[in-house]
Amino acid sequence: MDMSIELAGIALRNPVLLASGTCNYGRELQSLTDLSQLGGIVTKTITPLPRAGNRPQRIVETPAGMLNSIGLQNPGLDDFIADKWPFLQTLDTQVVVNIAGHSVEEFADMASRLRDLRGIAALEVNISCPNVRAGGESFASNARASADVIGAVRRAANQPVIAKLSPNVTDIGEIARAVEEAGADAVSLINTLVGMAIDVRRRRPLLGNITGGLSGPAIKPVALAMVWKVSQAVDIPVIGLGGICSALDAVEFLIAGASAVQVGTANFVNPNAGAEMVEGIRRYCEEFGIARVGDLVGSLQT
């Protein structure tokens, strides 16, 4: 049973990665799971400079999911290179570095400064954060802006470039095509859906930032539909995520057209979720006589 996947030139032991922002920079999970069992991990978004993030409350549970408003709290690129990367480099798994900026230049800068870092499997570009030029509207909500960012990163980077797409758009297929034309080597989706929760006693938002990002099982059907749509819209590989908690959830995404999946919120409930998922996918393939996990990809019969 062959669990390996080749994706945009990246050789993955298996199609299961941990999602950005749900495994920090790897250290904390060391003692709770065997990262070498995974296809890879995607590090939490780093920005050019350190960021404080949003004021608490940053988390609240919702039906079959949760809202978060972390606000990209991160140590910034210098600290990442000096303090986080040396550890990440020692991991026996593929490490994808997720980056974000507030302008096309910031994105490009980060990419060029990450050229020298040996061993980065790929860059994942988080275009879901606000574009300061365009008055705070997110890059990801506009095909042109998304393409500008990805094009600039593609030119500056010497690793495969994965564009991480937002689900909060009218036509995610259009955005996917735009970043493909701009040179993206792969797309990953979905990021969180914009959501909100209110404390009815105090009549205030539960989150310090008023709105937040919805993740977890609740959004799985939305993510799956978008992965299916995008995998038909583009020729580059698609990485699927959104509410994946079990091996069979992952299998749904592979069948819908994802070449790999990312496990996000599930890590919070079970820090060993990714490793258990790899085993579960293997069992599924054996039960249904699938020789190569790659044979599942896009095998949906409609």
């Binding site: 999911g65 972390i70 910034g76 890590n267």
Partner: protein
């Protein structure tokens, strides 16, 4: 710290809406220190979805058990309260930084309120074992909301209670009891409870230069530092490093030195 499959040995209502559960958890029982907590998967289903953080209230090393004391106030605690004896749950722990008793202080004053009482019970019993003088101050809205003396037997050399309505002990805030203790002489203060109470305790101690350790709570998803959700604003000298404005309560805490916390707002 491991994700242990624990068995529920007892799970009973011990006061109005308060439940005491004894969990067979060899690893956690062997390593848990006062102030640390566990993150319990109360249901394998998608709702309730996140785990429930619970302070360790007591450890019984000889029988490999820990006790948790919890208030039934919503879906997760409700689900836990319905757990039957013999059921098995995933329980991640011990988590977070423990209290670090201030060296050579004879007198320890512990201030607890609401769901902040359990860690005080654990800390008190460890300090008493070490032969220290332990004054435990417990506040609650009314007598009905107070736990019985039996819960505090081994956890204090002196127990004082306060109620907002005067129905038991001191009529007023538990912090008023604290002021008396601060006035009577040198001591170290440890506290856990509602944020307003903790802040009042911290400010009183800082004002009179008494060492004070606070155990904080914030809404948690992971409990192990990977979501960066459970943060508290801390005093940050380094203006160039905004990243250091917030610390994660689950791994950098829940216990902090009162002077570390940014109390304004």
């Amino acid at each position: 710290m491991i994700d242990e499959i624990v068995e529920v040995l007892t799970n009973d209502e011990v006061a109005e809406d308060f439940f005491l559960a004894r969990l067979e958890a060899p690893h956690i029982a062997a390593h848990a220190q006062p102030g640390q907590f566990v993150n319990v998967e109360v249901s394998a289903d998608v709702a309730p979805f996140l785990r429930m953080p619970l302070s360790v209230c007591a450890v019984h090393r000889q029988i490999s058990c820990i006790d948790v004391l919890y208030q039934n106030m919503g879906p997760k605690s409700g689900q836990l309260s319905r757990c039957r004896v013999g059921e098995q749950l995933r329980c991640l722990g011990p988590l977070g930084k423990a209290f670090s008793p201030v060296p050579n202080t004879k007198r320890s004053v512990l201030v607890g309120g609401g769901i902040g009482v359990p860690p005080m019970i654990f800390l008190g019993s460890e300090l008493v074992k070490k032969g220290a003088e332990v004054i435990l101050l417990v506040g609650a809205r009314s007598a009905a909301k107070h736990l019985g003396d039996s819960f505090f037997q081994v956890s204090a050399t002196r127990l004082e209670r306060a109620t907002d309505d005067g129905s038991l002990g001191h009529h007023g805030l538990v912090t008023e009891l604290l002021l008396r203790e601060l006035a009577t002489g040198a001591c170290a203060v440890y506290t856990c409870g509602p944020h307003a109470m903790i802040e009042a305790v911290a400010r009183a101690c800082m004002a009179s230069d008494v060492p004070c350790q606070v155990s904080l709570e914030e809404y948690m998803a992971c409990g192990i530092g990977i979501c960066v959700g459970c943060v508290v604003r801390v005093e940050n000298a380094d203006a160039d490093n905004a990243y250091a404005d917030y610390k994660r309560i689950c791994v950098d805490g829940p216990v902090f030195d009162a002077r570390e916390i940014c109390w304004e707002h």
